[in-house]
Every structure is written in structure tokens, then in C-alpha cells.
């Protein structure tokens, strides 16, 4: 009897939902906007799919339709990764405590 690898992935998926559930509830409400921008940035890890799509199928012709979609996805994800992390960084840098730590 062998277990389908899909079941393993499904287990990872479901356990991650639980982790996400508990981790996100512990996020302080004042940081909900940075939470959205950072989740947005990390969901751009979809770029790994885009890279495989763009580069791995490149045996015959660089500009195969499938590759072009890969390249397009790379640009979109790159905008998101840099934009998302940097804007989060910018927001988080603004959260300061009372006068104690002056800028």
C-alpha cells in the first residue's frame, strides 16, 4: 500500500491553513495593513512557477507561447515582490513608540 504524494501535499496545505489561522489571529490589529501588503508580497512566490515555465521549456524556441506566459508572469510577480516587501518595510518603519526612541 502506497500513499499518493497528493495526500502529503494536502496534509501540508491543511496544516498550513491551521498555522495561518493561529498566526494571523495573533497579528495586532494596528498592523493589519502591513499584514495585507506582506501576504501579498509572499504570495508572489508564484514566481517559482513562472521561472520554471519560462526557462525549463526552452529546448526548441525561446519564444514559445508557454514560455512567453512564463516571462509575463515573472514581470508581474517581480513588481509584486519588490513593491510588496518595500512598501511593507516603509510602513513598518513608521510605527514608533512614544518619544523614547527619537528618529
Amino acid at each position: 500500500m502506497e500513499i499518493d504524494p497528493f495526500i502529503f501535499r494536502l496534509s501540508i496545505f491543511i496544516l498550513s491553513i491551521f498555522i495561518g489561522y493561529y498566526v494571523v489571529w495573533s497579528v495586532t490589529p494596528s498592523l493589519h495593513t502591513p499584514l495585507m501588503s506582506v501576504t501579498n508580497a509572499i504570495s508572489s512566490v508564484i514566481i517559482v512557477g513562472a521561472i520554471i515555465a519560462a526557462l525549463a521549456g526552452e529546448n526548441s524556441n525561446v519564444f514559445d507561447t508557454a514560455n512567453i506566459f512564463g516571462y509575463l508572469a515573472i514581470i508581474l510577480a517581480a513588481v509584486n515582490i519588490f513593491g510588496g516587501f518595500l512598501v511593507t518595510q516603509r510602513m513598518l518603519a513608521m510605527y514608533k513608540k512614544k518619544k523614547k526612541d527619537k528618529k
Binding site: P5, R9, F13, I14, S16, I19, V23, V24, T28, P29, S30, L31, H32, T33, P34, L35, M36, V38, T39, N40, A41, I42, S43, V45, I46, I47, V48, G49, A50, I51, I52, A53, A54, L55, G57, E58, T65, A66, N67, F69, Y71, I74, I75, L76, A78, V79, N80, I81, F82, G83, G84, F85, L86, V87, M91, L92, A93, M94, K96, K98
Partner: protein, 465 residues
């Protein structure tokens, strides 16, 4: 080259780093470090993927160029965007994730060998289901976020767009999507795949247009969640742990935020999604207006009241963002503090156009985050406070939510502003707020209306302090 097992370990590491990135947000002190974890996780995922593909020819060159182009665009936007535009920025970014998911799914469909999914026309059924779900959710996220972006940016009217048969149409489209995916698995037809994508684009538009401006916090959180599920769908297709973990994290994060936002309005998720809150109630409330007396004052009155107060609570709302009044507000508060007044800020969960919107704006204006409180933390303090300064908020202060079961906002948690000794309400006019109902607070004896632009009024008051 890199073995498949090692690759999987690296993807797991980046998944864990992403979890830590979210974990860091539990307090502002750890949040910056958390963001760093996220960046490292992303870098690991990208680098090991490039190494595993092992293609360093022209394609690699294009990859680097595209990364640089996309990265510079992203960085440029991130540094230039004003904080008040954060909701539309996030909506815009969601649309990119959605479209990227669609593109990856298309690529996987056209060239499945690359991802070990079979050959064109003979793709594994499970993969086909996963990629069409990923493509479909991604497409909905894309067009839905575009509509949300247009509404938030003001390019498209924020009022709900409804037409008869709307829900029926959505239902039919939703069912046909399921049917199409089923037949796609049977026939592997290219046309069916494209139809799924096109219909999903349409669904994305249709589900967001009936939702009004002030419900945008729910919409943005929901789209955030969708972008996560789309990524997870692609993650299953590509058998990639980093994507699956991230998709699950983002998906549940967005879902929790939507839940918090709905709870902040005492509405069910479906009630928001099915749209049109303001649309139905506006007419009923208008007749009773003009009859009740309203006390209105000017900056002098307000300055006098606040100078002599011992504690002041500021209640900011979306109007503060529109008027860009956060800096003026901070200056006014500084002047008050010099006079020995204790000042705190009260934030309603649905104030603004996205979760945490007000907090970011106040942080931008250098307001220390330990002076800013959530509804539950501060609501009891209104009873002991001398002046409540309501700037750009409306429905979230309406006491009718506690008293009138007929009211559409009945049961919504509100800030107990009316319990403070006096209320200063900065507003341009007496017009009702988003929910289309009159605010009882305007006519209370202890309320002084300050009819002016939020920023101008706040500046005028600080001059007098």
C-alpha cells in the same frame, strides 16, 4: 544542479520563513525583522528554483532583465505611493498576483511536460483540476481587484452597481464554471480551458461591482484571500511546497481579515458580497432631516473646549484619509499635549477602506502606536472623557446601532462617542454616511458640529491652541 529532495527542503525553509514573517507582525517591534524573514524566504525560493532549472543560456538573461524591470517598477511604486493610497495599491498588487497565477496556469496547460504533468492533450486529471482551479481563482482575483482598484481610486463610482437578475447571472456563471472544468478534465480541450479563464474574468468583475465603497475593507481582504487560494492551486499543480504553504497562509489570513471586517459591521459575509447596502435605505431616512435642531460651532469653540478638557479621544475615519488631515491632526494633538491634555485615538475595525488603514495613516503622521487603541480597548473610556473629536468618521459612532432594531446598522459595534461630556464632530454637512442613515449623534445636546473640511478645521484649531 540540485536534487529534488534538497530542493523540497529549501522550499520548506522558505515556507517557514514566510510563517515567521507573519508571526513578526504580532507586535510592531518584531515586525521589521519579520519582513526581513519574508525577503530571505523569497530570495531562497527564487535562487534554488533558478539553480534547479539549470538553464543559464539566453533565457536566464531575459529572466534577470525582467526581474530588474519588474523590481524597479515595484520599488518605484513602493517609495512613491502616498500612505492614503494604500488600499488601492494593495488592490492593484492583488490583481498582479491573480494574473501571474493565470499566466502560470496557462503555461502549464500549454506545456505540461516542463512541470511533469503529462503531455498536451493528456494531462493528469488531478493536475488539470488543480491548474484550472488556480487559473479560475486567479482570474477572478485579477478582474475583481481591478474593479476594487478603480473604485478605491475614484475612477469608477464607489456606489454599488446592481441590475436585476444579477445574482441569478452570477449563479449561472458559477455553475457553468464547475461544469466547464468537469468537461475540461474529460476532453482536455484547449477551448474549454480558455473559456474557463474568460468566464472567470467575467465573474471577477460581476462579483465586485455591486459592492459599495465603504464595504471595501471586506472586498480587499477577500481578494487577498483569493490570491492565496490561487497560489495554493498552482502550488498543487507544480507540486511545490513553498507555494502550497504560502497559499494556505495568505488564504487564511485574508479570510480572517474578512471575518473581522464583517464582524465590525455586524453583517454576514454573504450580506456584504451580495451587495448594495446604501442603495436601499437612502430614501427612508431623508424626510426626518432638517427638523431637528443642531448645534454648530467654529474653531474657537472647539479650541476652547479642548483646551479646558483633561482628556480628549480622537475618532478618525475615512474622511480623515480623504482630507489628508492626519498630519494636521498630529499637530493639533501636540498642541493639546502641551496644554496638559491627555489624548488617545480610538480606531473602529472598519474605519477607512482597508483593515488597519487608520493606523497606518496615524503612524505616518508620527503618532506613537501606543496612543492608538482598538474599539474594545478604549470604548469604556469615553464615559470618562471630556471631549471626543470625531474626524471623518460617521456610521461607526451612530448610537442608533444600539437602540433601533429597524436600522440597517443595528447591532454593529460602535464607538460610544456619545458618552463623552462633549462631542466635536467635524463634517462638511449633515449628509448621512455610507449606510445612508442619519446619525443621531448630530442632534445630541452635547454635540457640537464643526462644518468644515477636516484638515482646515484641524489646522484652525491648532492655531488657536
Amino acid at each position: 544542479m540540485i536534487s529534488a529532495n534538497l530542493l523540497a527542503v529549501f522550499y520548506l525553509i522558505s515556507g517557514i520563513l514566510f510563517i515567521l514573517a507573519l508571526r513578526g507582525l504580532s507586535s510592531p517591534e518584531t515586525s521589521r525583522q519579520g519582513n526581513l524573514f519574508g525577503i530571505v524566504g523569497m530570495a531562497i525560493a527564487i535562487i534554488v528554483t533558478i539553480i534547479s532549472v539549470g538553464n543559464f543560456s539566453t533565457g536566464f538573461l531575459y529572466l534577470i532583465i525582467l526581474l530588474l524591470i519588474g523590481g524597479s517598477i515595484g520599488a518605484f511604486i513602493a517609495f512613491k505611493i502616498p500612505m492614503t493610497a494604500m488600499p488601492e495599491l494593495v488592490a492593484g498588487f492583488h490583481s498582479l498576483v491573480g494574473l501571474a497565477a493565470v499566466f502560470v496556469a496557462i503555461s502549464a496547460f500549454l506545456n505540461p511536460e516542463v512541470f511533469n504533468l503529462g503531455s498536451p492533450g493528456n494531462i493528469k486529471i488531478a493536475s488539470l483540476i488543480e491548474m484550472s482551479l488556480g487559473a479560475s481563482i486567479g482570474a477572478i482575483t485579477f478582474t475583481g481587484s481591478i474593479i476594487a482598484f478603480l473604485k478605491l481610486r475614484g475612477i469608477m463610482s464607489g456606489s454599488p452597481i446592481t441590475f436585476s437578475g444579477q445574482h441569478l447571472l452570477n449563479l449561472i456563471l458559477g455553475i457553468s464554471l464547475v461544469g466547464l472544468i468537469f468537461f475540461l478534465c474529460k476532453t482536455q480541450s484547449n477551448n474549454l480551458f480558455w473559456t474557463v479563464v474568460v468566464i472567470s474574468f467575467l465573474v471577477g468583475i460581476l462579483i465586485i461591482i455591486p459592492i459599495g465603497g465603504a464595504d471595501m475593507p471586506v472586498v480587499i481582504s477577500m481578494l487577498n484571500s483569493y490570491s492565496g487560494w490561487a497560489a495554493a492551486g498552482i502550488g498543487f499543480t507544480l507540486e511545490n511546497t513553498a507555494l502550497i504553504i504560502t497559499g494556505a497562509l495568505v488564504g487564511s489570513s485574508g479570510a480572517i481579515l474578512s471575518y473581522i471586517m464583517c464582524k465590525g459591521m455586524n453583517r454576514s459575509f454573504f450580506n456584504v458580497i451580495l451587495g448594495g447596502w446604501g442603495a436601499t435605505d437612502q430614501s427612508s431616512s431623508k424626510d426626518s432631516k432638517e427638523q431637528k435642531p443642531v448645534k454648530s460651532g467654529n474653531a474657537d469653540d472647539a479650541a476652547f473646549l479642548m483646551k479646558n478638557a483633561s482628556s480628549v479621544i480622537i475618532v478618525p475615519g475615512y474622511g480623515m484619509a480623504v482630507a489628508q488631515a492626519q498630519h494636521a491632526l498630529r499637530e493639533m494633538v501636540d498642541a493639546l499635549k502641551k496644554n496638559g491634555v491627555k489624548v488617545s485615538y480610538a480606531i473602529h475595525p472598519v474605519a477607512g477602506r482597508m483593515p488597519g488603514h487608520m493606523n497606518v495613516l496615524l503612524a505616518e503622521a508620527n503618532v506613537p502606536y501606543d496612543e492608538v487603541f482598538e474599539l474594545e480597548e478604549i470604548n469604556n473610556d469615553f464615559a470618562n472623557c471630556d471631549v471626543a473629536y470625531v474626524i471623518g468618521a460617521n456610521d461607526v459612532t451612530n448610537p442608533i446601532a444600539k437602540t433601533d432594531p429597524q436600522s440597517p446598522i443595528y447591532g454593529m459595534p460602535i464607538l460610544d462617542v456619545e458618552k463623552s461630556k462633549s462631542v466635536l464632530f467635524v463634517k462638511r454637512s449633515l449628509s448621512p454616511g455610507y449606510a445612508g442613515i442619519d446619525n443621531d449623534l448630530f442632534y445630541r445636546d452635547n454635540t457640537l458640529m464643526l462644518f468644515a473640511d477636516a484638515k482646515k478645521m484641524t489646522e484652525d484649531i491648532s492655531k488657536l491652541l
